[in-house]
Symmetry: C2
Subunit: 113 residues, 2 copies
DNA sequence: ACCCTTCCGTTCACTCATTGAACAAACGCC
DNA sequence: GGCGTTTGTTCAATGAGTGAACGGAAGGGT
């Protein structure tokens, strides 16, 4: 489904290490090989990544996935959105925790089975 | 799939308002009617909920879903687990935010297209 | 040069959770 | 009793996700 989260992590890992294979990346992303492949192709089609031949000029199987300038901008934009979203999540989380603790105190112990 | 999260929310909402219909509960849970039904039946089978006839003693379609004592204990236990899990999530989130901000500062602006 | 192994990206048939339209039961109302 | 409404229940269809299998290409050994 190519969520924002997956997109961001993919861009980030590729930037950190362009020589990652799809299998390695799949491991880092925590998704399957098939989905990783689909994700990379989508990013390439959008122009956010470019697949360069790794060693020489011939058709080779091992690629280097490099961020394009537009890919770098996209990653930065995603990061900004993430900070905002994560902050909101954190707020919600704190609220939930407070509510849970309130509930726990209301029902101190139900000893009997 | 009946995740912990769904279980907890279901128990919570049912406790707050036992007269909820499955459709209303589905709306609160953010999942489909079918899944809500599946979830409720699973909770009933586990003895965490009991479906009481709403008004009179005859077979009626509208139920009241009440927490059993064991359901109350389960909900409390889930709450405890949630507090721990959510705290960990919060820590991870803070870490991520810090990392994202570091990245943003590293790449102040890519103006050119 | 040749073969064989290994590693890569790519594909696609399968699985399985999820959905929501359709159905049946049971009520209130007239 | 009849009708419309509301409820729980079912299940065919959908769609995302998986990972085994494939073919291409490099490397190593002889």
């Amino acid at each position: 489904m190519l969520t924002d989260d997956l997109r961001f992590k993919a861009l980030k890992h590729v930037q950190d290490n362009p020589q990652l294979t799809q299998r390695e990346l799949a491991g880092l992303l925590g998704v399957s090989l098939g989905r990783t492949n689909y994700c990379l192709q989508a990013l390439i089609e959008k122009g956010l990544l470019k697949a360069a031949n790794f060693r020489n000029s011939k058709n080779k199987r091992a690629y280097m996935y490099k961020l394009t300038p537009s890919g770098l901008r996209e990653k930065t934009a995603l990061a900004v959105r993430f900070i905002k979203r994560k902050e909101l999540e954190r707020q919600a989380l704190l609220g939930e925790i407070a509510e849970l603790q309130r509930e726990l105190e209301q029902q101190p112990a139900e000893e009997k089975a």
